[in-house]
């Protein structure tokens, strides 16, 4: 007769992710029976208290959804509102918003690679231990993250919850001399950043090819950030206002974050999805650098996300330099006249597409807001990945080994749990058939 044994591993808080979550794993006869990524980030009801706020208050409010990617929230909101008011985005504003977004990509990616992800790949518990063994690499990462923060500060006064963005443009544009000083700092970081890309490619990343659908914004003339159609590796291409016709949010009992599906199935958003779909729009030096790594994009190994992230930091540096060097800073004030209506916008947050919808009255006050953050979009994909990857993993290994591998998989997605407007400890329930 078969004796059944339950094994439980409980880890109270998942480390090195932004926000709080947990994982529950049921293993039966050395096969994964069920995976539940529990996101217990307390709900904050942002969509409700946006109601009644006026258009510029919305920009300051949504920043508070996420301390790590406030610019992304401001960008999706400002574009959705300008869509309602029929305000065309001035080319100077458009270019400078791109630069500000580059700052956030540098900051957020730099933070994730060095403080959150790299310790996993090199066998350290955290960045402080990693820093003792790889001091130069960690210092380089912190410097690049810092340059990103300075870039955000140039437009917003501070890097967390910046205050510079408003409907119609910016409250204040940087001066020529401020831009020049910034360009020198960015240029000084280029070579270090190229080294970073090669370093990420040299990390002992797990080999794990899987089938998945990539989803990202795509723009014919540039690596998309604030503008473009939402496209998928299966051939979807729709503007932001048709998002809800193809993507669906589902509430699952084990999580305060919604799961998102594209045509009923999980999908990937974020740096790897973007590089996979938008390779052609990367600057040539970025492509050349990636070609040196001998990794082929599009890639089916989600662990290549860390390389894609570093490549996007390199892209962000080059893009910010190119724009700030040539930008004409003369700009007449934009007239903002509120209108009633519904507006949509989708932009590329560091972790993937961030979709906003606002309904406003004639005074420019919010009637209804809907926000779909990237982490809730990746959540179903993460569960899929865990099922696939752990079934390939030797599940007779110790609970500790399984836990570490599962955490590595989750952290690789850079889940930003705080962002889950409406989003780990680990429990393994093991039923072993023993003869």
């Amino acid at each position: 007769m078969t004796q059944k044994k339950d094994v439980k591993i409980h880890v109270p808080v998942l480390a090195r992710v932004e926000g709080e979550g947990a994982l529950e794993l049921d293993i039966e006869n050395s096969q994964v029976a069920s995976v539940k990524l529990r996101i217990f980030e307390p709900p904050r009801f942002f969509e409700k208290f946006l109601e009644g706020r006026d258009y510029n208050e919305v920009i300051d409010t949504v920043a508070r959804i996420c301390g790590i990617c406030p610019v992304a929230y401001q960008m999706s909101a400002v574009h959705a509102i300008e869509h309602i008011f029929d305000i065309p985005v001035h080319p100077t504003v458009r270019a400078l918003r791109r630069v500000m977004y580059c700052g956030e990509w540098l900051e957020s990616h730099g933070l994730h690679i060095h403080l959150l992800a790299a310790p996993d790949f090199l066998g350290f518990a955290n960045a402080i231990e990693l820093g003792a063994a790889y001091p130069e690499e960690v210092k380089r990462g912190l410097r690049l993250q810092h340059v990103g923060n300075k870039l955000i500060k140039l437009f917003g006064g501070r890097s967390v919850h910046p205050v510079g963005v408003r409907v119609g443009g910016f409250y204040r544009l940087p001066t020529r001399s401020e831009c020049d000083a910034m360009v020198s700092e960015l240029k000084a970081a280029v070579e270090e950043c190229a080294q970073l890309v090669l370093w990420t490619a040299s990390l002992p990343l797990p080999e794990d090819e899987q089938e998945f659908t990539s989803v990202a914004l795509q723009h014919p003339e540039e690596y998309a950030m604030n503008e473009g159609n939402i496209v998928s590796s299966l051939g979807l291409s729709v503007p932001a206002d048709q998002y809800q016709n193809h993507f669906e949010e589902i509430q699952v009992p084990h999580s305060t974050a919604f799961h998102s599906h594209l045509h009923g199935k999980p999908y990937l958003v974020g740096p790897l999805a973007r590089v996979n779909l938008n390779w052609d729009s990367l600057h040539e030096p970025v492509q050349q650098l990636l070609q040196k790594t001998a990794i082929d994009f599009p890639s089916k190994n989600v662990f290549h996300s860390v390389i894609a992230r570093a490549a996007e930091m390199y892209y962000a540096l080059l893009e910010a330099i190119a724009i700030l060097e040539s930008i004409d800073l003369e700009l007449s004030p934009v007239n903002v006249t509120p209108k009633s209506g519904v507006g949509y916008a989708c932009t590329e947050a560091p972790r993937g597409i961030l979709w906003h919808r606002y309904e406003m009255d004639q005074h420019g006050h919010v009637i209804k807001a809907t926000i779909v953050p990237p982490t809730s979009q990746n959540q179903a994909r993460i569960e899929d990945d865990l099922r696939n990857a752990l079934n390939k993993f030797d599940l007779t290994k110790s609970d500790e080994d399984i836990r570490l591998h599962a955490e590595t998989i989750i952290r690789n997605y850079d889940p930003c749990i705080s962002c889950s407007t409406h989003f780990l400890n680990l429990t393994v329930n093991r039923k072993c058939g023993e003869s």
Binding site: V11, P12, V13, L14, A15, R16, V17, G19, E20, F40, P42, P43, R44, F45, F46, E47, K48, F49, G52, R53, E57, D60, T61, R64, I65, C66, G67, I68, P70, E107, L111, L115, L116, N126, A127, I128, E129, G131, K139, L142, R143, Q145, H146, G156, G157, R158, S159, V160, H161, V163, G164, R166, Y171, R172, Q251, P253, T256, C416, S418, H422
Partner: protein, 276 residues
């Protein structure tokens, strides 16, 4: 021996925990955004618990506990008590921990309705009726205001404790910082509805420096005259509802701003009666 002195004398070095409750994670970035200074700090103190940075020991005894976020779930109510028991010195960081934060806006709403409006199955959402500051639950030794707090504030607090002295409270108004920075007053010069006269500084007066009005993300300053500011905002042309929204924003749950927002609405009702 004074508690600050005890912390400074901790051997081999003082231990530090960073705990997260209901928040956006932005105040923890005051540590994670330090750049290379983060490595220097990790030589001066031992980060015992800081989940986002790696170390997870939520129940370990520490000298200093930094607490981010407000209390908004039954679990958090229990957890904050343990944090208090396990630390010598508790410092709240940011508007959520210190004053309840933006999410405290739900305290004056119907939570069941809100839950049902957002979640198809609201029964799975375990949240308290209110989001409240840490001091409503346990004793707090020092408060750092701001949404978000800046590295300047957190480092100054750590440095003070490492030197065995109590950290210094900054309670003066944004206006004073504008004067020191030579920033032209946006309320006087441009008629913007600036909240600087009632808001404490610590942010570096960045909003007026960017040609915009302060929106009070650092909370009420000492000795404020909200009555006077409210009448000025009326003169500038703001409606009573708009004025109350100015107070009921990031630090809506502070007694000063609660009252001022309420007064702005009530005063308006009296005015309309008199006119009739």
């Amino acid at each position: 021996m004074r508690i600050e002195k005890q912390i400074a004398d901790s051997s081999p070095k003082p231990t530090l925990a960073v705990h997260k409750f209901t928040s956006c994670d932005g105040c923890q970035l005051a540590f994670l955004n330090l750049g290379e200074a983060l490595l220097t700090l990790s030589e001066l103190v031992d980060f015992t618990h800081f989940a986002e940075a790696g170390p997870v020991n939520p129940e370990a005894s520490v000298d200093i506990a930094f607490v981010e976020g407000s209390i908004s779930t039954p679990d958090e109510e229990q957890r904050i008590k343990k944090v208090r028991e396990n630390c010598k010195y508790l410092i709240t960081i940011g508007a959520c921990a210190t004053a309840g934060g933006l999410q405290a806006l739900r305290n004056s709403s119907n939570m069941d309705e809100w839950r049902a409006a957002i979640y198809p199955s609201p029964e799975h959402i375990d949240a308290l009726e209110t989001a409240t500051p840490i001091k409503s639950h346990v004793r707090v030794d020092f408060e750092l205001w701001g949404c978000p707090v800046s590295p300047r504030q957190t480092l100054a607090a750590v440095r003070s404790l490492l030197s065995g002295v109590k950290p210094v409270l900054e309670e003066e108004k944004v206006c004073l910082e504008c004067k020191r920075l030579n920033t032209v007053c946006v309320m006087v010069a441009k008629g913007l509805p600036c909240m600087g006269p009632v808001t404490q500084t610590g942010c570096g007066a960045i909003c007026p420096a960017l040609n915009r009005d302060c929106y009070a993300c650092f909370g009420p300053a000492e000795n404020i005259n909200t009555f006077s500011l409210t009448s000025r905002l009326h003169e500038i042309g703001l409606s009573a509802e708009h004025i109350s929204r100015r107070y009921w924003f990031i630090n809506n749950f502070t007694p000063e701003f609660q009252q001022a927002g309420h007064n702005a609405l009530v005063a308006n009702k009296h005015d309309s009666k008199e006119r009739r």
